[in-house]
C-alpha cells in the first residue's frame, strides 16, 4: 500500500485531442456506473492485491478515463477479482465489472493478454 496514486508523478502531458474516447464509451456502455466514480481511492485502500504489489485500481481507472491505455493490461493482471473494492465503493461503482470488461476491451484492442 506504499502508493496510493498520490505520489509525485513524473512530468508528462496528456494530449486530449489524440485520445480515443470511443473506448471509454465502450466501457461506460457495459458498466454505466463507471461514470459515477469520483476517484476517491477507497477501492485502492481496501485492495488485497495492493498488500503485495504496487497496484491501485483508482490509478488504473483514472488512466483509462484519460485514454492512456499503454500499461493498463499489465496492471490489471495483478487484480484477483475478489470484489472487495466493489463492496466498499461509496458511489456504488461496479469496480469488479469495470476490471472484467477492461480486460475484454483491451484484449479486443490487441493489448493481448487473454485469448478469448
Amino acid at each position: 500500500m506504499d502508493s496510493w496514486g498520490f505520489s509525485i508523478a513524473k512530468t508528462r502531458t496528456i494530449d486530449i485531442d489524440s485520445v480515443d474516447f470511443k473506448v471509454l464509451a465502450r466501457l461506460t456502455d457495459k458498466v454505466p456506473s463507471a461514470k459515477r466514480c469520483i476517484m476517491c481511492g477507497a477501492c485502492a485502500a481496501t485492495c488485497s492485491a495492493a498488500n503485495f504489489v504496487d497496484f491501485s485500481f483508482r490509478k488504473t481507472h483514472l488512466l483509462f478515463h484519460r485514454g492512456q491505455f499503454s500499461n493498463i493490461s499489465e496492471e490489471l493482471d495483478k487484480c484477483m477479482l475478489c470484489g472487495k473494492c466493489k463492496l466498499v465503493c461509496l458511489r456504488g461503482v461496479n469496480t469488479r465489472a469495470i476490471i472484467y470488461n477492461l480486460r475484454i476491451i483491451l484484449n479486443d484492442m490487441n493489448y493481448k493478454r487473454i485469448a478469448l
Binding site: 481496501t46 492485491a49 495483478k78 484477483m80 470484489g83 472487495k84 466498499v88 461496479n94 485469448a115
Partner: protein, 607 residues
C-alpha cells in the same frame, strides 16, 4: 396391404425424423471424450441400464418432479407424454393382434380404425377400442390444460411462461391439432361403421347428422399432416427434449458427468431442455428486476441456435435456484461456467507476489478468513474467540490480507489465473503441516473443496463449530432470542451444508423457519458471479430477500457468509449476525479448563 395415400405424410415425417435424430445422436456421442466413452462401454450391460429405464419411466413419461411442483402441471405433462406413449404402444399391439404377426405396415397402429371397419373382427377388439378411447380422452384433457396454461398459467402454478420462437409455435400448434384431428377422424369413421368405443361412437353419433362420408378422408388427411409437421419440427424445436432426455438419463446413470470443458454431453443436456419455463419463476433477476432474457431457459435456447451474447452469459447470479427446480435435472450453472471459460496463455504466471513465508509447525488448524471476511471483522473476532475458548492451536493464514481463494476468478472464466492462486495457496497450506483447514466464507469453502487438491480436510466454520460442540470443547448457553437463518447459495445449494448451522442455532436460540429455506433459499444479490447488474438491481434483490426473511420479525437474521452479511446489513431491516458471532456471544463462560480449576479450588477450600 392396407394403404391409402393419406399415410404418406406420416410416413415421410417419421423417416425424416429418425434420420435426423440418428445423425444428431451419433455426432454427440462421437464428440464425447475418451473417459466418458469408457464409462458408457463399462456400464452398458449392467443393472445401471435397468435403473436408468426405471428413471426414464418415472421422469420422462410420468414426470414425477413436475408433479411435486404442481399436480395439475404434472398431470398435463404426464397425459401428453405417457398417454401418447401408451396410445402408440397399445395401438401397435392392437394391429399386431389383428394381423396375428408382429410385422405389419408401420402405419397399421396409427390409422387402425380407418382400415379395420368391422367392429367384431377379433375377440379383444372391444377392450382395445375402449382403452384407446380412454387414452385419447386423457390426452385431450392434457391438451385442454395446455391451452389454459397459455392464457392463465397461474392456474397451473406457473407465473410466467416461456416466450417461444416461431418454430416452436408451429411445433406446438401441430402438437395441439394432432389429437382433436384424431378424435374427429375416428369419430367420422365410427359414425359410418360404428367401430369405435364410448368416446368416438358418441362423438360419431353427433357427427352422423353431418355428411360424414365426405368428411372422413379429409379428416384422416389432416391427422396425418399434423403428425408430419410435428415430426419434422421435433429435431429443430424444443420437442427435441423428448428423444434426448432418454439418452441423457442413460448417460447420467452410466456415470458420464459434465466436466468444465464443453463436450458432447453438454450438447445432450442443452437439447434435453424442454423450455418448460419453470426456471423463469425461480430466477430472482426475473421477479425482482424484470430481466426477461437471461434465465436458464433463454440461455440454453441461445446456445442451441448460436445466438448467445456475453450479457446473457454474464448476467447470472449463479445462485443455483434454477438447477434445484429444473425437472430434467440439467446442470445449468455448470453449462454457463463452460461458456464463461476463456482459454489462457498457458505457462504465464500472473500473481508473482512477494509473500512473506512463515513457519507454522505447531498448529492444528489453518484459519483462512477469505477476502470478504476482512470486510466483516466481527466474524474474524468471533472465530478467534471460539478458537481460544476451545483451546485449539490455529494459524490465521491471511491475517494481513492474504491471497484470494481463486473462485471469483474462476467464476469469470479466468482459469489460468485461478489455478495460479490455487497453487500458491495450496503450497502455503501444505507447508503449515496443519491437520485441518477452516474458513468462514462459503465461496472459499466451495473452492477449497472442489478445485483444490489438499491432503487435509476442509471445514466451513459452521461444520467446525459443530464438531467442537460435539466433542465438548465448546459449551453453549441457550437464549430465547428468535433467529431466522439465511442459507447462503454457495454453502447450501453449492456444497450441501444445511443442517450444521441450524443445529448450532437451535442450541443457542429459538430458530424459526422462513418461507425460503434450504434448496429454496434466496440470493442476497451481492453474488460475485454477476458482472452485468449494477447496484440498483442488487438492492432490489437484497430488499426482496430481506423482506421475505424478516416476515416473522426475528431478533436476529443469521447467516454464514460474509458477503450475505455485508449485503443484508445495509438493508437496515433486522440485526444481521454471522453464525460465529452468535455462537461466540453465547459460549458458556466456564469452559472445561475453567471447571477443573474451580473444582480444584473448591477441593482445596474443603481440605
Amino acid at each position: 396391404m392396407r394403404f391409402n395415400p393419406f399415410v404418406l405424410p406420416f410416413l415421410a415425417g417419421t423417416i425424416i425424423f429418425f434420420t435426423i435424430i440418428i445423425f444428431k445422436f451419433y455426432s454427440w456421442i462421437h464428440k464425447l471424450d475418451k473417459k466418458q466413452k469408457y464409462f458408457i462401454k463399462k456400464n452398458l450391460f449392467t443393472t445401471k441400464t435397468l435403473s436408468a429405464l426405471s428413471e426414464i419411466f418415472k421422469e420422462a413419461l410420468v414426470h414425477r418432479k413436475i408433479y411435486k411442483k404442481n399436480p395439475l402441471l404434472g398431470y398435463m405433462h404426464m397425459s401428453l407424454a405417457f398417454g401418447w406413449f401408451l396410445l402408440i404402444v397399445i395401438g401397435k399391439a392392437e394391429s399386431m393382434v389383428y394381423n396375428k404377426t408382429p410385422f405389419g405396415e408401420p402405419w397399421g397402429g396409427i390409422f387402425f380404425r380407418y382400415f379395420v371397419t368391422d367392429p367384431h373382427s377379433f375377440s379383444m377388439q372391444a377392450t382395445f377400442s375402449f382403452v384407446l378411447d380412454f387414452l385419447l380422452l386423457i390426452i385431450l384433457s392434457g391438451v385442454a390444460l395446455a391451452l389454459i396454461k397459455r392464457f392463465r398459467s397461474r392456474l397451473l402454478g406457473i407465473k410466467k411462461t416461456t416466450n417461444h420462437r416461431l418454430f416452436d409455435k408451429i411445433a406446438i400448434m401441430s402438437l395441439w391439432w394432432i389429437f382433436p384431428f384424431r378424435l374427429l377422424a375416428e369419430s367420422t369413421t365410427a359414425a359410418i361403421h360404428h367401430n369405435g368405443s364410448f368416446l368416438t361412437n358418441s362423438v360419431g353419433s353427433i357427427l352422423s347428422y353431418l355428411p360424414a362420408g365426405a368428411m372422413e378422408l379429409p379428416l384422416w388427411w389432416a391427422y396425418s399432416v399434423s403428425l408430419f409437421f410435428f415430426f419434422i419440427c421435433i429435431p429443430f424445436s424444443r420437442y427435441m427434449h423428448i428423444p434426448t432426455e432418454v439418452v441423457l438419463i442413460l448417460l447420467r446413470k452410466y456415470g458420464v458427468g459434465a466436466g468444465e470443458e464443453y463436450s458432447g454431453y453438454s450438447d445432450i443436456q442443452i437439447n434435453s431442455c424442454s423450455r418448460c419455463g419453470i426456471c423463469i419463476d425461480s430466477c430472482q433477476l426475473d421477479f425482482t428486476s424484470n430481466f426477461n432474457n437471461v434465465q436458464s431457459v433463454y440461455f440454453i435456447r441461445d446456445i442451441r441456435y448460436n445466438k448467445l451474447s456475453d450479457d446473457v452469459v454474464n448476467n447470472c447470479l449463479m445462485c443455483g435456484r434454477c438447477v434445484e427446480d429444473c425437472p430434467v435435472g440439467l446442470e445449468l450453472t455448470l453449462i454457463r461456467q463452460q461458456h464463461r471459460n476463456k482459454h489462457e496463455i498457458v505457462g504465464k504466471h500472473y500473481f508473482d507476489y512477494a509473500i512473506k513465508e512463515e513457519n507454522h509447525d505447531d498448529v492444528d488448524v489453518v484459519f483462512f478468513a477469505g477476502c470478504m471476511s476482512h470486510l466483516t471483522p466481527g466474524t474474524i473476532i468471533a472465530m478467534k474467540k471460539i478458537f481460544n475458548k476451545a483451546g485449539e492451536k490455529f494459524w490465521f493464514m491471511d491475517e494481513n490480507k492474504g491471497l484470494c481463494c481463486g473462485r471469483p476468478m474462476r467464476q469469470q472464466g479466468f482459469v489460468q489465473q485461478s489455478k495460479d492462486l490455487i497453487s500458491k495457496n495450496s503450497r502455503m497450506i501444505a507447508d503449515s503441516k496443519a491437520k485441518l483447514l477452516v474458513t468462514p466464507c462459503p465461496i472459499c469453502y466451495k473452492s477449497f473443496k472442489e478445485e483444490y487438491t489438499l491432503n487435509i480436510p476442509v471445514m466451513h466454520h459452521s461444520e467446525y463449530i459443530e464438531h467442537l460442540v460435539k466433542n465438548n470443547k465448546l459449551k453453549l448457553n441457550k437464549t430465547d432470542l428468535s433467529v431466522v437463518y439465511h442459507d447462503p447459495c454457495e454453502l447450501g445449494r453449492g456444497t450441501n451444508v444445511y443442517e450444521q448451522p441450524r443445529n448450532l442455532l437451535r442450541k443457542v436460540s429459538n430458530l424459526k423457519a422462513s418461507d425460503f429455506e434450504r434448496e429454496n433459499s434466496l440470493c442476497c444479490g451481492s453474488s460475485l458471479a454477476n458482472t452485468v447488474i449494477e447496484l440498483d438491481v442488487q438492492i432490489k434483490i437484497r430488499n426482496h430477500a430481506l423482506s421475505e426473511l424478516t416476515k416473522l420479525k426475528p431478533d436476529i437474521l443469521a447467516t454464514a457468509c460474509p458477503l450475505c452479511k455485508k449485503s443484508f446489513v445495509h438493508g437496515n431491516k433486522a440485526k444481521v449476525m454471522d453464525l460465529a458471532e452468535i455462537i461466540a456471544e453465547n459460549i458458556e463462560n466456564d469452559s472445561t479448563a475453567d471447571l477443573k480449576f474451580q473444582k480444584n479450588s473448591v477441593n482445596e477450600l474443603v481440605l
